[in-house]
Symmetry: C3
Subunit: 174 residues, 3 copies
Amino acid sequence: MDDSAAVLDRIEQLEQRLRDLEDQAEISQLIAAYGPLVDAGDAEQVAGQWTEDGIYDVDEISMSGRDQIRAMVRSKNHQGWIAGGCAHFLGPARVQVNGDAAVAVCHSLMVVNQGGAFEEAPEFVVRRATAHHFEVVRTPQGWRIAKRTSRVLDGRTEAPELLRRGTLGQVAPQ
Amino acid sequence: MDDSAAVLDRIEQLEQRLRDLEDQAEISQLIAAYGPLVDAGDAEQVAGQWTEDGIYDVDEISMSGRDQIRAMVRSKNHQGWIAGGCAHFLGPARVQVNGDAAVAVCHSLMVVNQGGAFEEAPEFVVRRATAHHFEVVRTPQGWRIAKRTSRVLDGRTEAPELLRRGTLGQVAPQ
Amino acid sequence: MDDSAAVLDRIEQLEQRLRDLEDQAEISQLIAAYGPLVDAGDAEQVAGQWTEDGIYDVDEISMSGRDQIRAMVRSKNHQGWIAGGCAHFLGPARVQVNGDAAVAVCHSLMVVNQGGAFEEAPEFVVRRATAHHFEVVRTPQGWRIAKRTSRVLDGRTEAPELLRRGTLGQVAPQ
């Protein structure tokens, strides 16, 4: 086979392109799992989406490290949302990978039931619409969130800025 | 070419990894098609997403087999939603493939127009937020839904449990 | 190596299957970027999602070419949504590629804050639920939107028809 070098080159290119797609898919799946996990109240799994010292900076609180993220899921506040009925509904993520780091961005709607059971008088309202910016990193255990920055879309300028930077693959401010 | 065995091994690995990604993408696309099809009222296409004897178990009704799913789409109830304006808006699915079976999970929002035409006095409300758990199987015609279990997120414990199990790749209870 | 023809054939098949997945992923990412970009008010990036003479036909207005799309993003109307707080929340796209053209479909919810800042008295409402049909084309710069047709899901028959055609990979009417 004369063209073994050409064959090896094609195989190498395939491997690289496939790795790129796998990275993008894995990060999309990581983000797609957040809403279901947090609405299930699974503190361990939610915290495990971050690196050990990962940051989750949202308007109301900023969490640093898995312990603080676990505590948020287990808090009376969050458990109250689950008990009443709640969906942290994240949209499809726009993902941009750059070697062992990536930036992703998406919207979410937090929909809560402020009424009774569905058969009686439920009242689902959109409590907040939010912009999410993710900085994720490749670890030996797979892709993990190093920093997630979330700002409510209530007109504050930080939120559109997160969307813009995230879509262009840029890291969050500070 | 001395290393033909190595080449064949790399090709085989590529084929397997690509198949995994294709499976995940096909299942994601199957689920992404549900909302548009059901809001289009296309009973045949909706039913065709399931296996012949597939199950769609939702709070209000449990359907078994394509005929019952077709009947739901054609029902006065469902056609009424379409006539008034309706979006069965499903989120991006978290998908976990295991050979010829897979588990997927996502949220949905059912948004309905309870008012008039958009130019007059529309009133879009979230009628329900729902947890969806899918058990899909590989068939000669592609991936099909064997069982879909959906529970409204109104505080009933079954719904968060479906999200938890689905995200971990576990089948639904019973 | 006797079976070099077989090896080349397997590599060629891998390349084609990978290209198919890459196309689908790129189009999904293009659509996933629309909401973040338009809510960020980035007129240049939004317009760049279309071909030079691309069409964006939505109930209220029909835009033709990038200049008109830029103008929509920069309009007092659109900037007002951003200033008050707004999410153009698109669902995961169902994508069907056919060579150098593709059809995609998804829902969106336009959620706006009609109240004050989140800490005070925000009031997030679903202003509209919409059916989106995309005709995208491969260009030297990547996949771009040639025509996007959007109709509000308020009961008008055009909207379910767009969902149906889009899911089946058919182009929009006209």
